[in-house]
Symmetry: C2
Subunit: 211 residues, 2 copies
DNA sequence: CTAAATTCTGGCCGTGCAGTCAAAAAGTAG
DNA sequence: CTACTTTTTGACTGCACGGCCAGAATTTAG
């Protein structure tokens, strides 16, 4: 026999439930972005949404599940935005630049979401202490980067280097852009992204073959 | 009238107090590295040190002060270890490589300290939510990197690029090495560092001037 | 030795947290 | 209106935390 509360995970959701869930996720994003992950308690999120705390428990199995859905939503928005731009590129060099600039461009219109994403990336851990949602463990993004670098080396566009270290470094640079760009209030995100694209272009490109 | 407990900050410290403080700092490092920053409560640190919780309050003005001293100690150990190697270098290119390899070499013998440092860097915030000890406010290390890059550009060894973005990226790569290299057990730290040095050498070096 | 200063103990307090629940309210259908 | 389901409320539980402190233990000074 099922517990009375909490709609099951599989059944189709009523309109009102879908709306509530979206509202709660939106509030979570705003609270995390505004007050930091540590201060984003269920009570605060509920207050920001103008509902009582129990409602969150009613609609989400727990705080972790809520955060998971926040990440999933924001992350899929990024992929959705950047993937089409990348499809159009032919060379690995262009792919590399498009990936970095695409992420930055999407961020520009979604500061709040991405601030929250960075907060969650940095703070949420598994019980064993390893990062839970950080991109270093997100195979999806890692595979995209590996693909770019592998392609570049196959084409001879890129010099030989350790693909894993390069991809990790690339991810770290993006993470850093996520996590800390708001700490430089005078800093221009797109300029940062362009510089980053330059840095990785220089870091990867094949040596000049003299004649 | 002074509070009865807590030796003042300025007086010279007795042997026993110095020893206790060192013991507490060491325990804090081990607990943070082992369980993560979030789980490093005063109670856990005290238990690990085999003393009662009150002792920590007696010797340190508060948890933040304790963390501050942990950071100061570990950080100064790194600088102490790497600075002499850097002194011996003449070119910016050599400085760059020495900085990365020196940090990695020091890390090799101080895994616990550096895991703890990374944890604190990532998690400790000011009340307003901005990072407290991260690279964005740690001017010391940032200035070292800025110095290297500025020197390289002045010498014409390095191409023109945004020094701040390059330094941030450099720092992110090091942070990443701090934070995650243990997640790849098969991975050789020194090989990672050599690759990293290569990456930044390629990223920074001046374009070939064809005679 | 005694007296005073230093150091330590262990329990207590208030706070904030995630999650629970009985009951109230709102919505829906006949 | 009535009977039923879905949704919401807000008080409550139990827990972990940082900080506090009266008094005990220990060390030092005279």
């Amino acid at each position: 026999m099922q517990s009375k509360s909490r709609p099951s995970g599989q059944k189709s959701r009523s309109f009102i439930e879908t709306a509530r869930r979206a509202q709660i996720i939106a509030s979570a994003i705003e609270v995390i972005a505004g007050h930091g992950f540590a201060k984003a308690s269920l009570a605060r999120i509920a207050e920001h949404a103008g509902i009582s705390k129990g409602v969150i428990s009613y609609h989400f199995a727990g705080k972790d599940k809520l955060m998971e859905e926040v990440v999933t939503q924001v992350y899929s928005e990024i992929v959705e935005a950047v993937s089409p731009m990348m499809m159009a590129q032919k060379s690995a060099t262009a792919l590399l630049r498009t990936q970095i600039l695409g992420v930055a461009q999407h961020m520009r219109g979604h500061r709040t979401q991405l601030k929250a994403l960075g907060e969650i990336f940095i703070h949420l851990r598994r019980p064993d202490g390893t990062p839970r949602y950080g991109i270093t463990t997100s195979e999806e993004l890692f595979q995209v980067l590996e693909h770019i670098y592998r392609l570049g080396q196959r084409n001879g566009e890129f010099r030989p280097f350790d693909i894993r270290v390069m991809a990790i470094t690339h991810q770290a640079a993006l993470d850093n852009m996520f996590a800390y760009w708001s700490a430089f209030p005078e800093h221009d995100l797109e300029a940062h992204a362009r510089e980053l694209a330059d840095i990785f272009e220089h870091a990867t490109r094949a040596e000049e073959t003299p004649s």
